[in-house]
Symmetry: C2
Subunit: 156 residues, 2 copies
């Protein structure tokens, strides 16, 4: 299946990426995790995104999230995703070479979820390594760095 | 991996389901589609949901959506999902036997997405067939029936 032409600027993300990350937040103990991220496509003007992490020592599942990066023309994108913690995010952005410059449109949570009021994400591929960061304003804390990982594309 | 005890009331959904559906809406031509739905788990108090449809004749990919059904206790659930059309949905609900009684908390769309202001979903398993319906208020139309499908659990 050929990549949709509107997704050409996003081709640098395609594939499955694996590696290790570090999490921290004022309200929890810092932790490390193993991660697998996949960006796939079906020939339509979006990429499917899925992410799973597990504990670096026990292998127990930790976090997951899934969503879509929409190519809306002129290297502009929209990124929607949901999390099993009851969070949904809507971002806008622009492709800048092999970096996504993302700006939050909105984050919403279900009634039983923890409060999250801001999410700032960065995603960049450099020398075949995908690095991302996530900062969050959650559970009453101001916008604070939360996650950082460096992943490598699966050769298979 | 054992199913999380909070997910026990949701066990009737687990697996991969395949079948055919019918779509209609006042603003488009009616259509039929082939569908695959998966509800999976990783031992945590949620199910992962993913759905893909393709054209019944050409096999071309049509729709997709992914998200999570959160078990929040006492047979109550929350359902979050996102769609490549730029839509995110947050539902609450209750497990009633092998039916989910869902109530929309909120639907949100990205700036470039078509307007959607209401989504009503039903999901029910009867005699090993999963039937669902989706109604939407979108692009200025009032809440109107949109999708209906009957799927069967993959034996494999």
């Amino acid at each position: 299946m050929d990549l949709h032409e509107d997704c050409a600027p996003l081709a640098f993300l395609l594939g499955t990426w694996r590696g290790q990350g570090e999490g921290e937040y004022p309200t929890i103990e810092s932790f490390t995790y193993l991660e697998e991220v996949t960006f796939g496509h079906v020939g339509k003007p979006f990429l499917a995104y899925s992410q799973k992490t597990r504990h670096a020592e026990t292998g127990q599942p930790l976090h997951a999230e899934t969503g879509y990066i929409r190519a809306i023309g002129e290297e502009r994108i929209e990124f929607v995703l949901s999390q099993p913690s009851g969070i949904v995010e809507l971002h806008g952005g622009r492709v800048a070479g092999t970096r996504l410059d993302l700006t939050l449109h909105a984050v919403h949570t279900t009634p039983a979820a923890k409060s999250v009021t801001d999410v700032v994400r960065s995603i960049e591929v450099t020398d075949d390594a995908l690095a991302y960061t996530v900062s969050m304003a959650a559970v009453g804390e101001p916008l604070t760095h939360h996650l950082r990982a460096a992943l490598h594309r699966d050769a298979s």
